[in-house]
């Protein structure tokens, strides 16, 4: 799980990139709280070969990466 809520871009993508690079998880949940971070993290996930599911939460979005 990467909690990137409250971070301005590009920080959410950097945090996810670090997690993917270090642990190469098969699935990964990412929390973001703005539209820009949602778009950028989704684009990054897809560029890394993940399917990305987006779910609305109380304070933003939960992005679920699956291979």
């Amino acid at each position: 799980m990467v909690d990137a809520r409250g971070y301005l871009c590009p920080m959410p993508v950097i945090m996810v990139q670090k997690e993917v690079k270090e642990n190469a998880p098969a699935t990964l949940e990412v929390l973001v709280d703005d539209e820009c971070a949602k778009e950028n993290v989704t684009r990054f996930g897809k560029s890394q070969g993940y399917n990305v599911a987006v779910e609305d939460t109380d304070d933003g979005f939960k992005l679920t990466f699956t291979k």
Partner: protein, 369 residues
């Protein structure tokens, strides 16, 4: 996926073209040449209009700044992206905002004006681009090594509305009490497009910049960090639009000398824009992006904008801003540049950005370790 990317890229390119056209239009209607839409210059002019500095040639309540904030604010409200938040190292952001402005005024322009000047054939701006890219590269170096100003949290509506409210207040002040506002009678501050037209154009630019996430720093940064060219397309679209527009209007002049409101002191142009690139990467976006995010309700970006305005006031009160090249009555070309105080200020700003970069990385590494 490719279709989604193409749609996203198209919006950024359209935004870049509109910003380019807006710049050409506002220049045609009276804004200073090669300065159709400079965030740093216009915040500096607002600082002067509010008597925060007394440089008589650069005082005007530029409606472009308020228009960008309110354009972004309105579109964010409509699309439910308006989210008040704040609390990510506000004092550090204020200082970085001031530092970025001091660097920008040493060069005489923000990244957007750098791009506009490149589109006008200004070789000084092309050389400054090297400094800008170097600054962005250094900034990303620290981002990759854990630079972190900590997260922001959900804030009150009052916090979120603060920047749009300031923008409205400035417009009301300008319309109802113009005698309170200082206005240049000569120099760049005296050159301006009609108030209402500039405001309307800026509202459109602000809305488009919000939707497309257009950011001059982000364009270079994302290529370095992720190999993502999305935002760079906007950067290039502005240059291409302005080159074509200037060629059509006969305003393209490929030269280092005799460029409008520019100096050819190359080292200080490069160092000034290096500070802007570096500081803006740490802040999460260029001066234009800070205005847009402040309009979206981000209090941290609002405090950055206030820092920039104070940085502009300091630059002019202490004589640190760049002096344009000029020609004497005898026809002698005088190279401008910055004063010795300005050179010291630039060096101090580089040291400040370096210290902020290092210290914010150290905290992170200690926690992880």
């Amino acid at each position: 996926m490719k279709k989604i990317n193409a749609k996203v890229n198209l919006l950024v390119i359209i935004s870049g073209v509109v910003v380019g056209l807006a710049s050409l239009l506002l220049t045609f209607l009276g804004n200073p040449k090669n300065m159709g839409f400079c965030i740093a210059c216009f915040e500096r002019d607002i600082a002067g209009a509010l008597s925060l500095h007394s440089a008589a040639k650069v005082q005007y309540l530029r409606p472009e700044i308020m228009g960008i904030i309110l354009g972004a604010f309105i579109i964010a409200l409509v699309t439910k992206e308006f989210k008040p938040k704040a609390g990510s190292s506000p004092a550090t952001r204020f200082i970085l905002g001031a530092v970025v402005m001091i660097g920008a005024l040493a060069f005489l322009g923000c990244p957007l004006r750098m791009v506009i000047r490149i589109g006008g054939g200004d070789v000084n701006a092309m050389l400054a681009l090297l400094g800008f890219v170097l600054g962005v590269y250094i900034g990303t170096f620290f981002l990759k090594r854990g630079f972190n100003m900590k997260r922001a949290y959900k804030a009150t509506l009052v916090e979120g509305f603060s920047m749009p409210a300031v923008a409205v207040a400035l417009l009301v002040l300008g319309i109802t009490a113009p005698a309170v506002i200082k206005m240049s009678v000569e120099g760049p501050g005296s050159m301006h497009a009609p108030f209402v037209i500039a405001l309307v154009v800026a509202l459109v630019v602000g809305a488009l910049a919000q939707k497309s996430r257009l950011c001059m720093v982000g364009g270079v940064r994302d290529v370095i960090l992720f190999g993502d060219f999305k935002l760079l397309y906007g950067f290039v679209a502005i240059i291409v639009t302005i080159v074509i527009g200037n060629l059509i209007m006969g305003n393209f002049n490929l030269s280092m000398l005799s460029q409008p409101i520019a100096h050819s002191s190359t080292l200080w142009n490069i160092l000034g824009m290096m500070i802007v690139g570096w500081g803006s990467v740490l802040l999460g976006g260029c001066p234009l992006r800070q205005l847009v995010l402040a309009g979206e309700g981000n209090g941290d970006c609002a405090i950055t904008v206030f820092g920039m305005i104070i940085g502009a006031a300091m630059s002019h009160n202490f004589g640190w801003a760049g002096n344009p090249d000029s020609v004497t009555e005898l026809g002698e070309y005088v190279v401008g540049g910055i004063s010795n105080g300005g050179k010291i200020a630039v060096v101090v700003c580089i040291a400040l950005v370096l210290i902020i970069s290092i210290l914010n990385c150290k905290k992170e590494s200690k926690k992880n370790g």
